[in-house]
Structures are given as C-alpha cells and as structure tokens.
C-alpha cells in the first residue's frame, strides 16, 4: 500500500467516525445520540456473540464441534458476500464525493481499493464478533493447542476478504453492464436483485446436491453439508484446516490468496472505474419535453410520488427497499407453481409434520419478507440536505409523514395481497380463512409502515456522507428491523403452535386485532413525533 492509499483510507475512516464528530461538535443532543448509538451497537454485538457461542455450545453438546471452524468461516463468508453486494453500489460506485476525490492526484485503482478497504474495516467488527465467539465455543469443547487461538484471531481478519472481493467484483460487473444502458439505475437494480435471488436459491440447490439419502437425520445432514461446503468453498476449508490441525500452510494459503485476489480485482476495477462512474453519475438529457396535460395530486399523493421517484432513483435504495416484496411475490409464485406442501417439505428438509399446520402463519411468513424493510424507516433520514424543502412547505409535517406512509402502503399491500392469494390457493385454504389472511396481511403492512415511521422520525439522521449509511446501517433501520425480525419469527412459531390447538379463524381474528391496535398506536406515535418536528 502506498502512502497515498493509507492517507486516503485514514481520511475516509475519519470522515465517518462518530468519535471525530463527538470530539468536535458542540451540540449536546448530537453527543448524547452518539453515546446511545455506541450503547445500541454494543448490545447488538453482545447479542451476536451470545448467538454464536450458543450455536457452538449446541454443536459441542451434539459432538459435532469439529464442524465449528468450517461453520464459522461459512457464516462469515456468506454474511460478507451478501452485505457487500448490497453495499457495493454506494460505497465503491456512485458516491457523493467522487468529483472531489477523482480531481485529486489519486490513481483510480487507489480510490477503488481504499473504498473497498473502508467497507471492509467498517464491517470487520461484526465478523470478528462472530469469529471470536465461535473460537471461545470451539476452545471450550475441542480443547485445542494454545497456538490455535492466535492463529484463529489472525485468520479471522482474512475470512471476509475473499467473499467481499468476489461480491465487489460481481457488483463491478453489474455496474459495468448497467453503464451501457440509458436507465442505468433500473438495470443495475434488476441485475442485483436477480443475482441476490439466485444466491438465496443456491442454498437449496447445494443442499440437494449433497443429500443422497433424503431421509437422513437432519443433524447429520447439517454436519455433512457444512463439511462438504468447506470442500467446495476452499477458503472455508483452508481456515478449518489451519485451526484444526493446526496447519500453517493452509493459513498462508488463505492469507496469500486474499492479498493476491485484492491486487488482481482492483487492477481490473481500476481500469474501468472512471468510465463506470461517469456513466452512473451522468444523466442522459433528451431535451425534447413538450408541455402536455398535467395532473393534480393531493398533498399526500404528491409526497408518495416523490418517495417513489426517490426509491427508483437509487440502486441501493431500490435493492434494499424492494428486495422483501420481490422475495414475497416470488415465494407466492413458486408456491403456486410447485405446490404449498412441496415447498414446505423442501424448506424444512422433509421434517415429519403436516404442512397444513403452517396455514395460519401464511401472512406472518410473507410479512417476514415484506416487513424486512419499511421505506418509512429510512426515508426521513434520506431527505438529508433536502430536508429544508419539506420544512419550508406550507403543510404540516404530519401530512408529509402521511405521504411517506401512503407510499409504503402502496408498495407493500399489493405484493402482500398477491402473495397471500397465491399461497392460499396453493395451500387450499378455505375462502373465509383466506379473506381473514388478506385482512391480516393488510394490518401487518399498516403496522410495518407506522412502526417504521416512528423509528424513522425518532432516529432521523440528516448529516450522512453516503446513503448506504442510512439505508443499511442507520439506527432507524436497525431499531426497526431487528426486533421486527425476531418478533415475527417468534410469532410464526407461536401461531403454528396455537393453530394446532384452536380454531384458525379465531386465532387469525385475535392476531388481526392485536396487529391493528399496534398499528394504530404506532400511527398515533408517529403523528405525535411529526408534530414536534417543525
């Protein structure tokens, strides 16, 4: 690395460092927010560490602790791969300060490489938390030699590098292809979504490849799949070999390949970097507009339309905001084509139960995807420097947020309705139950929208450098997403359990009632917060 690369990397890190803001700001409110942000982050790290240790303990108790290193490498690699894919556009390409950086005497590959390393360093604490927790779990059950611990720690730094590089390179190829089209954003989003969906379905294809005997015990199958995946994805195998034996050659192989791949990827990316960014940041101007009949919209509709244009104007926003609804719709279509029972059996790996017990959980299963992201959670922050536009409008902020909520409802309800109908038809759900599931779906969308808005207003952050910071890593999105995800998973389990003991209609009615009350309370809270905004 050259001195210029180190300087740029240091500056990139400093420019988004909360510590730097804390040191130099005189705004007490901002300082408190930063401290709470640190506390919140520490809690999430603790949860992650707890989860990873619990997983290792489970493996240890079942006598499968040998699979822990491969599993550790696979989990980190999968997370690094997916997260990087979502972040590449925004961090590597299409970033705000592109003009300023590129007008300075940096080589294109230096800028691209530093942006990658910045992304790597920023996400490293997550991966290190998982890795070190699994190292502790492994240490407790496998009693390895002392050398394993420093080796594990050093190699932890390299596990995410290769998947991140592969993901960045795919992001680069997608950006390269999109740069040739007029609607670069749309093409880039569609290609990214296709690739992400392909990655999700790959899991089932791989599992199917490895499983010769479909009725094997699930536990054995998991252990076997993990080991086989380690053989296919070589870096995971190298890591496992290095820490199990311990084998220095495997360790050197992992480090060497990571470094060489980094150099190779950024030599290639650097060559077309300016060309891609020029295309992504430029907008074709046809200049052939002719005044025609214009349409008047209500204030809420106008804001909802503005939100729609904001969503479709950014690949990062579209991929993150649209992924959940697309996955839900795909699940509906796949279920309709292949049959509800077959899909349930595939996902649960032929677990011995009647798929019909899952019926009352259909709206919640779909909500697991659709509720993954509410545009209302990040759209207040996304206003950024344009926030003054909303503030200076002669309307109440309540109206603004109602418009934002309207957009999220327009985005989620049609997909929820479509997917619920597909699944109900496929699962032969009686008509009355289907109607209740549709109402339940609507209530869930309303809750997600209103709760997202509460989080969005409460944790609004307007001084971001890169929109990825608020779309993927913002406090508002985290506070919305994590509890929502865990509660939904727990609710799915509870609904399935209760569904075996009580009438489905009654159960769904109770769930509708609870969700509607929560949605109404969240809406009221959002309106109260909005009132304080101006």
């Amino acid at each position: 690395m050259t001195a210029n690369s180190i300087l740029l990397l240091k500056t990139l890190l400093l420019s988004t460092s909360q510590r730097n803001i804390y040191r130099h700001t005189t705004d007490k409110k901002k300082r408190t927010k930063i401290i709470w942000g640190y506390i919140g982050q520490a809690c999430i790290y603790a949860m992650l560490v707890g989860y990873a240790i619990a997983m290792c303990v489970g493996y240890g108790k079942l006598g499968m602790i040998d699979a822990a290193p491969v599993l550790c490498a696979l989990i980190i690699s999968a997370l690094a791969f997916i997260f990087t894919l979502f972040q590449t556009n925004g961090y590597l390409f299409n970033f705000k300060e592109y003009d300023m950086l590129m007008s300075l005497p940096f080589e294109s590959k230096t800028v691209a490489g530093c942006k990658f390393l910045y992304m790597y360093i920023k996400s490293l604490p997550w991966y290190i938390s998982i890795s070190l927790a699994m190292m502790i779990g492994y240490g407790i059950f496998a009693h390895p030699s002392v050398i394993v611990y420093p080796l594990w720690m050093v190699l932890s730094l390299f596990i995410p590098v290769i998947p991140m590089l592969i993901s960045s390179f795919i992001g680069f190829l997608i950006a390269r292809i999109s740069a040739g089209f007029r609607k670069t954003n749309i093409v880039q989003t569609v290609l990214t979504m296709i690739f992400v969906i392909f990655c999700f379905s790959l899991r089932f294809i791989i599992e199917d490849m490895f499983r010769n005997d479909k009725v094997e015990a699930t536990l054995e199958s998991i252990s076997e799949i993990t080991e086989n995946a380690g053989r296919i994805y070589l870096p995971a195998g190298w890591f496992a070999n290095a820490v199990r034996k311990p084998d220095l050659l495997s360790a050197l192989l992992l480090i060497g390949v990571s470094v060489l791949l980094f150099a190779a990827v950024f030599t290639v990316v650097g060559k077309s970097y300016r060309n891609i960014n020029s295309a992504l940041k430029s907008h074709a101007a046809a200049r052939n507009f002719k005044m025609s009949t214009q349409k008047q919209r209500s204030v809420e509709e106008a804001i909802a339309f503005k939100e729609f244009k904001r969503l479709t104007g950014s690949t990062t926003y579209m991929v993150n905001g649209g992924m959940g609804v697309i996955l839900a719709a795909l699940l509906g279509i796949i279920t309709l084509i292949f049959g509800f029972d077959k899909i349930v059996m595939t996902v649960t790996q032929n677990a011995p139960f009647d798929p019909a017990v899952l019926r009352p959980a259909i709206p919640l299963i779909l909500y697991f995807f659709i509720g993954m992201m509410a545009t209302t959670a990040c759209s207040p922050s996304l206003e950024g420097k344009n926030y003054w536009i909303l503030q200076s409008l002669p309307i109440e902020m309540k109206t603004v947020y109602r418009g934002k909520m309207l957009f999220n409802m327009l985005l989620t309800v049609p997909f929820m309705t479509f997917s619920t109908l597909c699944m109900c038809i496929s699962a032969h759900v009686p008509l009355a139950d289907s109607v209740l599931y549709l109402i339940m779906g609507f209530a869930l969308c309303a809750f997600s929208t209103a709760w997202g808005c509460v989080c969005g207003i409460r944790h609004m952050r307007l001084d971001w450098e890169n929109e990825v910071e608020v779309i993927k890593q913002g406090a508002a999105v985290t506070v919305y997403l994590l509890p929502n995800l865990f509660v939904t998973m727990a609710l799915i389990g509870l609904t399935i359990f209760l569904g075996t003991r009580m009438d489905h209609k009654l159960l769904t009615l109770i769930l509708i009632l609870i969700t509607a009350v929560l949605a109404a309370l969240s809406y009221r809270k959002a309106m109260t917060l909005a009132k304080r905004e101006k």
Binding site: S15, T16, N20, I21, T25, F181, A279
Partner: protein
C-alpha cells in the same frame, strides 16, 4: 503546442447515452497568465467540459492536455498541477475544516511549514480561520466554498479550474477570490472558470469562450470578442446569431 499553453482542449466531444451531445467538438487554449471565462446558458455544456478537464468525467472523443500531459493517458501528472473547485463542493462533512485541508495538503505532499503558511494566509483572507476547528457539517454553503478554495490553493496549482465560483460567496469573499485569481496569473499560473455573471467575466477575464448547446460559438480575447461593446451585448448577439 506553445510552451506557454497550460490547458489545450482539442475537438473534445461528450454525449450521454442516446441523448444530444453535451459537448460537441470543443477546442480552446488557455495560456500561462490567462484568466479564461467560460460562459453559456444553463445546460450549455460548461460543467461537462470542466469535469472532463479535471479528469472526473470520462470521454472518448478529442484530447485534453494540461501542461503538455494528456488527461486520458497521464491523469496523475495533470492532477498534480491542477486544482478544481466545483459549483457545489461536496466535502467530508464530518471532518473539521482543518482536518480536510490537512488531508488535501498531505495528498499533494506539502510540508507542514508550507501548509501552515498557506492555510493561515488564505483562511485569514477569507476570514474563516476561527471556524477551521469546527465540523464542515456546521458550515454554511459559502464557508464550504471558502474551504474548497483554500484546499485548491494549497499546492500552488498551475491551472485553477472553477465551476461557478462566485455563487454563494459574500461580496468580500468574491473580491478576495478575484484578487487571488489575478495574483496567480501574475505568477504564471492560469485560471479557467465558468460563470453566469457576465459583469464579473468582463472585468476579470482577458479571454472568453461562449458555449451554446455544447458548441463553442465564439472565443478569443475580450477585446477581439466585444469590439467595444459590452460582454452582455456580445453574448446575446452571439447567442441569437447561432
């Protein structure tokens, strides 16, 4: 190429997708000591040309040379002698003014003593010294513009490229910037800037080029171009004739 030529744009064209050409066969020369004004309507192609000159925008047609180096094939050599101030500077908001200036000074390898002297000189001129320890996010547009200008002057560039530099600056800062531009040119550097403010261009520039729909419709020294008329009149006539 004349040895005094600092910027040479030869037959440069740029088009976006299937749209019209944003710049069409643009050619001009900026010599040492020139304050060269680039004027035109909104969307005429000024920023597209300027962004290509400073190596931010890729282009396929034509050639741009800075101090004899090609922007296409020797971008680093070009950038080392150039400074660019965009119309709306996107600086690192979470750095303080001084942290940002140090970053740019480090990139250009400016010694500590030299940068202290430059920063102090220009920050005092723009009356922003006291604010340099604050986060850039707390600055007004004009203050950000001033930091961007200081960062551009730190390495004493041979070519200073500015896109609408007077937008957002207070009258005193505008005057200071004009003085700095004149001083730089007296020392052998060159300034190439776009502006809408024809009065400023008329008083400040020794050469101008008028661009319309991507094409240069008139260029030359101020005297040649205006021939005794005001620049505003000349601009409107050229615009009408084309």
């Amino acid at each position: 190429m004349n040895e005094n030529t600092i910027l040479e744009i030869k037959n440069y064209s740029k088009s976006y997708g299937e749209g019209k050409k944003a710049a069409d066969n643009v050619s001009l020369n900026v010599m040492s000591g020139d304050i060269y004004g680039f004027i035109g309507h909104n969307g005429a192609g000024k920023s597209t040309t300027i962004r290509a000159v400073v190596g931010v925008l890729d282009f396929t047609e034509g050639e741009i040379l800075i101090d004899g180096h090609s922007v296409k094939t020797e971008p680093l050599e070009c950038k080392r002698v150039t400074a660019y101030i965009p119309d709306n500077p996107d600086l690192y908001e979470n750095l303080t003014g001084i942290q940002y200036l140090n970053f740019v000074a480090d990139v250009f390898g400016i010694s500590a003593a030299e940068r202290e002297e430059s920063i102090k000189k220009y920050a005092d001129m723009f009356e922003i010294t006291a604010a340099l320890g604050d986060l850039i996010s707390s600055y007004s547009h004009g203050m950000k513009q001033k930091v961007a200008i200081i960062s551009a002057l730190i390495h004493k560039p041979k070519l200073l490229v500015l896109d609408e530099p007077f937008v957002g600056l207070d009258p005193k800062a505008s005057f200071t910037l004009k003085e700095i531009m004149r001083e730089m040119c007296q020392q052998g550097s060159a300034v190439f800037f776009s502006t809408h403010v024809l009065d400023v261009a008329e008083k400040l520039c020794n050469k101008v080029a008028i661009i319309r729909q991507g094409k240069i419709i008139a260029s030359g020294t101020m005297e040649e171009l205006t021939a005794g008329h005001s620049l505003e009149q000349t601009f409107l006539e050229a615009d009408h004739d084309s």
